[in-house]
Symmetry: C2
Subunit: 603 residues, 2 copies
């Protein structure tokens, strides 16, 4: 279906919004009136700009407080409408959104509303314009879509139809099944927005917290499917009032928006891009740095061995069990301090994964590849992290590891792997996101990789709340934690970490300490509280306290974890899960974050 | 009364919080458990630190999910409590907050709850500790203060009392009158927080939006008065979970907090600082700059005359009607581009105004004053703007204008003042605040100057929402608009403007244009919409459009306004109010803000 976006959903002046949404690939646009009023472009110039960009103007909106009013107000409202028809003719727009009145002087009289809307439609038709009447969730007398439709039906004018808005419908808990009762040709427009489920005054909820479909808690797909079943053939159009999008860059927000519509079409059964090739684990994490020496020290202490050297690039492979870390001193590493710049995921079908990624607007990363290198598809996540689709050492596919020449005997590696406390695999990766791309990042990882999102958590950092949401494959093979730091400019606003799984964290920590690498000190007060809360066996508690290991449990099992110091933007976590524990130790986050601040700044 | 603050209300590590609240002048502290758990300080060290700082530890909190549970859970909960008693003994804290249970296994049985709390109190008493039981607004079975009190009464143990929390009481709409029924000596503690009135899930409301008393919509003073009438003699203690305070500097938040308590005591009739000397108008606005040439050009075009030169400092006085602008090239001006650094307010009693300001923690600005200068009291507002208390050319007080030597004949000034379109006075001043000091700034201007606050508005800027709230004297003589820009680091995050009142804005604008100073261009689209909305007489509309004057009206009158270009951080607005219009043209803010962005960056 055609795809549109209301200008209010993007930041900046009108001309930049139009460019951004055309560049992203939208077909059309809803002109939000305030954007036109604040623009130095005349309606004719906007029309021309849209034509140049290949955008149709699908809707002009909103026209407020029209219907069910006394005669003198009606006369003024019709005059007001005529002025807007004139603007629309200059714009080349032929559909006007009229939202249900909130005016105190409007009366609760459907027949009056219908009669006045019929009059308006008649005036509009004279200009070749149609009217789409929509129920605002907070409309004074008309606040549900079925009520708005009854009035439209009663008015019975060919230039009058209804506009369905998923926010107004779903925020009130209305059942979209009733959409089936509306003839498709009378659904003149379909506006889409999602929102997180929250108990908040609906007007505030609407004005500040709307988000793109798939980023909130509404079943927007079911609503779209119902409208299409009813016969709706107009565009899918996003209208999102969101405090964050208002501040974010228009270009990236527009891509995020279009991706959400593409995924929505798939969810609603209206399209079938290549299915997600859900990854089964991490193939590698790539750390880039001009000087890898500090990272090498930490990796050695953690038991990693330098096992390979890329045959064509300044990249080292370090391994332990199935955990693989690449150290890259190439171009990207020279631009910044140690940072996690890429991750590889094990996927059952790298080609399909890449095809899907491209279909849902994941930017493909151009590779400078030697003719002999294994093919490797990668896309960039919203935060710039490159995601590679890998099949590591499987017979059915060339392996990226083939590009590395061995530098350590595998026997020596095996010996390390089998020692107690060895790292088995990457348990999870945590990436702090730019503050304005958090919801986009969650949807990206769900839509592109086929991961599932946990609930969003607020973690108490000494300097504010960290918003945190995990996305993971159903079996937990790939787990990525997306965070947003409270202060976008603070040094911790770009932290990343790699959590390494072991079956014996006690031995692992003892070995790390023997090798002279300190772990994050945890206050004694934490262990006294842990004793009060969890009644651990005293000797075990003493060991955890001695080694600075944090502890959590859920109804399935236990979680033990500890942290290295931070090198550049990166630190490592050692974790041991037992019995199917599902979380990431959120219970301990406040203590860990406080300890990290103190460790960085000196206690 | 003694004043305390819960550590959770401030940002940073525990040791910095303690220093901040002692420095601000608090008497005591509530130790929020997570702050201790994340601290490397032992309880003994915290005790010592508090003693050194002169702080008593008034409460240790919270102890959760204790009461009305099965026997085995009770045993575990008592063990947990004993661990906490041990920590409290080391801290030297003798009061523990127990909040009503949210645990699924707790049962709705007051007698059981009372019996178990009695048991807890008995255990506590053995350590010299008392228990303050509080109803959480979202408690599973106990969620109102009167219910919590009935259970405490039933338990009937000398070491068990109740804790009243204004948020939990007022967020549920409970009537604090019932506090009179609680014997004062059984109110063991009083926790205070305000919050903006909003329809939001009470847990989210509590965790993110609490604020200091006077900054929200609750009548906290009435609750305090009721508790004191009932006989409560403990501290007034603030416990505020607020997303902004978590990020703001602890030192300034602590001062803001203590000021709110001082004003609360006054509101509750518990103290009587010198009454506010409500200002009647602006004496001056002071602009500082290394190079005042661009400002002089704008002032001349606006019709101001350079009338005086300070006898001892590099400060010029510019006048028109009762509007006075100081141009300062002294120390503060050299540190930054043109900026509004001070304002003078006309006050009936400068000495009382200064005394009150000092009593409510407005930092007094040290003056380097010549022996011959008129005495001038000034305090610093939270954003650093200096506020001077003035009596300009009144017989009962030395006038600050006496420090200026005339440089223009008053006759020439009078001639300008009587010409059509002359500026009469400063209508209002708008100051963009640091994002984390918005609520503090509103309370400061209310509490220190005796101004009244309008509702908070969200204005749509092309790059986000501007939060805006006006504070004004009842007669409108002093009006200050406090704004917060959407992006704290953007160039518009520190804008300030001076709005100048005229009786004839048409003539004023024509003169400014004749003098070759351009005003902010307003898009033609705005005037077409204005015609549609307001049906102005065509000739008048044409004039407004020609001159770039914005228009608004309310039920009392009209408002016409326009803007100069921005010089440094400062711009000027010309305004004409007729018939008692009360606002500031918020209707036009989106168009104006869009025009300003375009004007700064080129259309």
């Amino acid at each position: 279906m055609r795809k549109s976006l209301a200008t209010v959903s993007l930041s900046g002046p009108l001309s930049e919004k139009l460019t951004a949404l055309a560049t992203a690939g939208f077909d059309g646009v809803e002109i939000f009136e305030n954007d036109l009023l604040g623009s130095p472009l005349s309606p004719e110039e906007v029309r021309l700009r849209c034509a140049d960009l290949g955008l149709s103007i699908d809707l002009y909106q909103p026209f407020r407080d029209f219907e069910a009013v006394p005669a003198d107000t009606l006369a003024r409202n019709l005059r007001r409408a005529e002025r807007k028809f004139a603007v629309m003719e200059r714009l080349g727009a032929d559909l006007l959104l009229v939202c249900s009145s909130v005016a105190p002087e409007s009366v609760d009289d459907d027949a009056l509303a219908a009669g006045q809307l019929r009059l308006l439609a008649d005036r509009a038709a004279a200009h070749g314009i149609r009217i789409a009447y929509e129920a605002l969730a907070w409309g004074r007398h008309v606040s549900t879509y079925d009520h708005a439709w009854r009035i439209v039906e009663q008015a019975d004018h060919p230039a009058l139809g209804t506009c369905l808005d998923s926010f107004h419908i779903l925020s009130r808990g209305s059942d979209p099944k009733g959409i089936a009762d509306i003839p498709g040709e009378k659904i003149f427009f379909l506006q889409l927005a999602d929102a997180p489920l929250m108990t908040l005054d609906v007007l505030q909820w609407s004005r500040h917290h709307r988000c793109f479909p798939g980023q909130g808690g509404f079943d927007v797909a079911a609503l779209v499917a119902a409208a299409v079943r009813a016969g709706y053939r107009g565009p899918l159009s996003l209208e999102v009032f969101n405090d964050v999008f208002r501040q974010a860059g228009a270009a990236s927000t527009a891509v995020d928006a279009l991706r959400s519509l593409l995924l929505l079409e798939e969810s609603a059964g209206l399209s079938a891009p290549p299915a997600a090739a859900v990854p089964s684990g991490f193939a590698f994490a790539e750390l880039s740095a001009a000087d890898t020496e500090p990272l090498r020290g930490v990796l050695e202490a953690l038991g990693f061995a330098h096992t390979g050297r890329h045959t064509g690039k300044p990249v080292e492979l370090w391994e332990q069990g199935e955990a693989r870390i690449l150290l890259n001193t190439g171009v990207s590493g020279r631009r910044q301090g140690p940072a996690l710049t890429a991750l590889g995921v094990e996927t059952p079908d790298p080609d399909r994964a890449a095809q899907r990624a491209e279909k849902v607007l994941a930017p493909v990363v151009p590779r400078r590849r030697d003719p002999l290198d294994a093919p490797l598809n990668a896309v960039a996540a919203p935060d710039g992290t490159e995601v590679f689709f890998c099949r590591t050492e499987q017979p059915d596919h060339p392996s990226w590891t083939g590009d590395f020449a061995d530098v350590t005997s595998r026997a020596r590696l095996r010996e390390r792997t089998e020692s107690p406390g060895a790292v088995r695999r990457i348990d999870h990766i945590a990436l702090t996101q730019p503050w304005h791309q958090f919801d986009e990042a969650v949807l990206f990882h769900r839509g592109v990789l086929g991961l599932e999102a946990d609930d969003s958590l607020d973690l108490a950092d000494p300097y504010g709340l960290v918003r945190s949401r995990a996305v993971a494959s159903p079996d937990g093979g790939v787990r990525i934690i997306l965070n947003v730091a409270p202060a976008p400019d603070a040094e911790d606003a770009r932290l990343q970490h790699v959590a390494l799984a072991t079956d014996d964290i006690i031995s692992a920590v003892r070995r790390v300490r023997q090798r002279g690498v300190g772990l994050l000190p945890i206050p004694a007060n934490y262990y006294e509280d842990l004793d009060a809360r969890c009644e651990l066996e005293p000797a075990r508690l003493a060991t955890l306290s001695e080694l600075g290991i944090l502890y959590d449990r859920d109804e399935r099992g236990e979680f033990l974890h500890c942290y290295t110091a931070t090198v550049g933007r990166v630190f490592f976590e050692l974790v041991q899960r037992t019995g199917g524990y599902r979380g990431y130790g959120a219970q301990n986050a406040a203590v860990r974050l406080a300890a990290q601040h103190l460790h960085r700044h000196g206690a």
